[in-house]
Symmetry: C2
Subunit: 131 residues, 2 copies
């Protein structure tokens, strides 16, 4: 297992994290994700962590990094499927996941991204920016 697959679904990229992350895997994911956002001109990134039972500060930082990188490439990041225990731990650790929107499941996450992409497009059209 040397890389996490990234699935292109419409204008979004979908990543499901199922395995324990380590430095190299996280680095590869960031590289793959940024190059795919650039390649497909993706507007959204959806990261599903429903199989993670523990989110430590390393994963938290990685998610925040991915969100920041996506943002400068003009893509919104949505995190889905967080388990209740993970939410409790995150707040107790004082990690607020800045810049990352969350949704209960992939379906709602997709809706959130669709709304965001729609809104952005309207703004761009109002500003006269070519889409």
């Amino acid at each position: 297992m040397d890389r996490i697959p990234i699935l292109k679904v419409g204008e979004c990229l979908l990543v499901t994290i199922q395995v324990d992350m380590h430095d190299e895997l996280a680095m590869t994911l960031q590289q793959d994700l940024t190059s795919q956002i650039s390649k497909y001109a993706s507007r959204g990134v959806l990261i599903d962590i429903s199989s993670l039972e523990i989110v430590d500060s390393f994963i938290g930082r990685m998610l925040a990094n991915i969100a920041a990188m996506s943002r400068v490439l003009d893509a919104q990041t949505v995190l889905t499927g967080m388990q209740p225990a993970v939410a409790i731990t995150l707040v107790e650790l004082g990690m607020s996941l800045p810049g990352i929107k969350t949704a209960l499941n992939v379906e709602r996450g997709m809706q959130l991204l669709a709304e965001y992409i729609g809104e952005n497009r309207e703004l761009e059209e109002a500003d006269g920016v070519e889409v």
Copy 2:
């Protein structure tokens, strides 16, 4: 890692297989998948194997089982993201994956499922079956 997450996307269920399968994991996946098809009345199952570099007879049989179980629950299975080397091995092993449609990537797989669901709905309407 005790179970593979199943993502609900519209009328379909999406599974990405990233880790080595063993007996128990395969069994759990089959149980989870069949119970979710039943719960959400899903019409399609999309299995992405883009991160698998080896598909042996065990995985092949598991995929065939999942496809057969889905079919009796009225859901079509599509396999996506097969690596070229895997395709070569499968044919050399004489495994033809009966009952499983394949597509190059998740996006095309989704289209295939959407077409299948659309066609089936037309047939049901023509037969006067309530959908």
